[in-house]
Subunit: 338 residues, 4 copies
């Protein structure tokens, strides 16, 4: 077993920096050997240096070709994921790829084939599986103490809508935002989605209508194991990151509430006041990002598949497509139609 | 204004007895003048006497023809509701009618017409509107402090399934159980439902398949005011009566949790333990039943319409029919189709 | 066993009216046969008539001498309790007496002796023992699942201070307010208090200094069973009636929080908002008042001692005296000194 | 302003390792330049190397004499704290010292004098001031929105008792355990303690009686600002680390509950189940340890006094002595007597 896994991180935007920081400070046994981004600022260079990262590239090929490097984190824009996965697989690097792999199922399949052929590890970035709350729901269901699941529920609401410029290239609410929840319901239920039905509308910002996107949506789901489920999404909670999940089973129910910055309760003549839930994914899923990186490093060291693999990169994209189709056609859509 | 409203209660089953007891002990200004049931036991006679009720009939006509009586509570079986409403209207009695008025829209309309023509008061028994929790949700939404509603959510799960004999004549999950939630979403949103989409299955007791009913269901809804919603039902929670509701709005969210018999938290080396939620509607909605009776009496005294009227008896039945149709046809169904 | 216990209520102030109302509407098997108050208004007379109470007296002796009456509720001012108990005992009436029996231990003992000699039932009005929350704490401790108790904690804060005129004749914070908590710690611990130490001050209204009373106090207690405890009181919570209790034991802890009018949580950009706790004893202990009246009636019917008896009327007064002595002398005071 | 504060850590036991790890991974602008411990194992040497620490000593003088080093963390056993502080002050190193400084007030004063004379920074390790919960209580009180404080409450219970060998040299419950709470009440109230009264007993392990220590204790406190307070401690909670605090003020109350590993609520026919609170200080105060190290580094960089200084090292020791005296003498003890 290797002592230290040397990692090259491709993409130094918000999520790339987050992974670099975590790998450097909170993941024993991992070392960020190199980073690459087509746009490399002096600020990033200085920051990398302060973290002891000496190899800073503008071309990801430098990472692919570096024999010192064991594994890559693909954190660049979504349209580059599949190609980079293929290149990394060819270069025999283990792969951590941010979600979604691609918006196109054919491209995803090509990338997954390359991974399979090269026999490298692949982990996809569905970070919420590593969250203390959702994981507890899954572990409770998986333990069997509550019997078979019957109703799967996920609420996911962003604190505020992304900029319109982002929304335009995001792939739409189902592909960009609810995709996390599509993964979550598969994870919580331990079963594949077979059919979906979607309602959605533009209730926050009318501009979204010009790009045929929605900002508020509910999707019902049927699962292979006969359970049924529902996800609700809003691009604007206002009060923080609303991240709740629940599984109702034959013998009971497990549900998780939001996380708060503290447990303070202030009681006055006006009422009782609590702080808002944690604001967004950096606060709420901070520990989960560290845990997912640790899982990736552990899987490599133990020579096993990561717990979130290629199929987990593929299925949520299919579900998102089915949901979009249902929204447009006003009917329930089977996954087999995709 | 009359000092005391004299009431005749028709039907002395579980719900009739509940109303009789509340009217006698907890509703000032009301007096149960007479009761009637086609099956009148000695036990009921003795109980009525202990409450000071001297007129005990087997024919409801005795109540309709009693000039002392101002108003009737119709608590008999559903198939008798519409006819009794028509008779009561003709007899110029104000009417409290348990839900649903009927399973047939034509019969409901006949009954509502009779009420309108006779110009008597009508209140339908959607008791949950008087619950402290759901009412707080509605009041918060109605206050406008959270802006326009966008997502309406209701969870409703019975502690355990009813006997199969009951299920057979119940009208099915949508008409018997979710009908309360159809009323609830109209109440919470302050808007009419225009379209629904239903998923449902038999996950608890296979016998239900023989009568084409389901025991687990999720229904999505679109409202006139553009908000969307979802209801989930299970005939078996196991842990008690799960009654939660939530409205997400432009500026925030209001949600209510279940009620518990106490606030005790027992912490040991094994974990932290709380008591189960209140078990069923008699415990959970006890105060709400009293409040709805008070509302009926107050509406008569103040010569105004009760807050839950005829339209509230009609619409949930229509929504239940649309949900059933959606379940069967696998598509979204508009209320205008019913 | 008697079918109906006929009760005479002496004193028709706030607490007397509360008991009369509960006995008439919520306690099966009880009948208020007569009421008495030295000051009897037309309003009370009319209200009594509406409840079907025909005997309305200004002299409590009319109740004592009425052979129809089985039991009395003594709800008059504290200084009359002991004499009325003695009279009731002589008249062979079972007795419910509001707390405290008296401020003078000799008088309490005289009254208890009379009760004993006459062999009538006696229940003292420590209503909180019948509260769903505190009772759950006691039941948990008594069940033994947590092992022996080690720390007993009670928090009790009134929503707002009483009028100064009331404070002047109240007997002081320990005798008037904390006396409930002295009973509560005995109840929760299942053990007698043997020593106390008190801190207290005037932090709300300086006028109290003129009558040597305090409005904020903490009292530590030692119990016969070696556990230790603490009570904190404030005459002004501002946010409602703060009524919490907790017992820490060898194997864990049981604690109860306040009751709220609903479970609504309103989340906005400003924070999360809940309603205030229930405002005062009429709201918080409403069900407990009914339960204690039922216990009294049940004890008579079953010919057994009520669960809260004479010793429970005596001991809290002794503890209050010891607390006052500790406050004045700046030292720990043993109950045996009183 | 220096870019990087170079730190020498003295003592590599549990708490020393914790600080070393935090300084290396989570405190930007700090560098652990050297470590020292009289007992230096190979394991520690290897671990230090893996963290990039090259200077590993057995004599703390090597740190004092190292001109590269700006500041020291004193994490050795309590009896060495004062002498090491004096040496560090002479060597012009800024000082972070774990609590308590010493059990002897004369020695503490000597050390504080040396710090003052050398004009170096001093921070004492009362880590709970940096906890998200307790800090929120303090910030709320300090904001003034609740008016003047009247009742200060702290509950602090360890999950399980320390080994008897530890207890023997710990200085006793007041000096070893409640000392944190003595600091906490000063912090929360914003006022000095002027008088205390203590109850305590051996309720967990009789062996403690042989060393005149207690394992369960309650201490009442009076503050300079007229508020009163109470602390309860148990060496054995069983269910985890019970760390709650509360301040009641003229216009309301702020209280914090424990932290839990997740928000999961599992409801079954048996009841509702939550996980236990976080187990002990490493879990509960992990972020607070990081925050206190950041505060120390920031204070040096900004050339200001740390928020927890010398007086905060002194006062809790005095209060602990007064509490011990009160326990022994059975009376309220003024701080001025110490």
């Amino acid at each position: 077993m290797k002592e230290t896994i040397k990692i090259g991180v491709i993409g130094t935007g918000r999520i790339g920096k987050l992974h670099i920081n975590n790998l450097c400070t909170s993941v024993p046994g991992a070392k960020v050997e190199a980073i690459a981004d087509v746009i490399m600022t002096d600020e990033i260079r200085a920051w990398a240096k302060s973290l002891g990262i000496n190899k800073v590239h503008t071309d990801p090929e430098a990472i692919m070709n570096d024999p010192e490097i064991d594994a890559v984190f693909i954190c660049s824009s979504t349209n580059t994921h599949a190609d980079l996965m293929i290149r990394a697989a060819e270069a025999k690097k283990d792969i951590f790829c941010e979600k979604p792999i691609d918006y196109d199922i054919a491209k995803i399949n090509l990338a997954l084939d390359a991974v399979k052929k090269a026999n490298v590890k692949l982990q996809t970035g569905f970070v919420r599986r590593f969250d203390h709350n959702h994981k507890k729901v899954r572990d409770t269901v998986a333990s069997g103490i509550l019997g078979t699941p019957s109703i799967i529920k996920v609420t996911s609401r962003d604190p505020e809508p992304p900029p319109f410029e982002y929304a335009k290239v995001s792939g739409g609410l189902f592909m960009d935002m609810m995709i996390h929840d599509f993964d979550m319901v598969r994870y919580l239920s331990g079963s594949e989605v077979v059919e979906v039905s979607a309602y959605g509308d533009v209730l926050i910002d009318d501009k979204l209508k010009t790009i045929n996107d929605v900002d508020t949506a509910i999707v019902m789901l049927k699962f292979e194991n006969k359970s049924i489920g529902v996800i609700d999404n809003s691009r604007k909670a206002g009060y923080g990151y609303d991240q709740r999940s629940e599984v109702h089973c034959a013998k009971g129910c497990v549900q998780v509430a939001n996380d708060y910055p503290n447990t303070a309760m202030i009681s006055t003549n006006e009422g009782v006041f609590l702080d808002k839930p944690l604001w967004f994914f950096l606060e709420r899923y901070n520990d989960a990002f560290i845990a997912e990186a640790k899982e990736f490093v552990a899987a490599i060291k133990e020579n096993r598949d990561p717990s979130v693999g290629g199929i987990d990169g593929l299925m949520p994209v299919k579900i998102a497509m089915a949901a979009q189709k249902s929204l447009v056609e006003g009917r329930s859509v089977k996954l087999s139609e995709i």
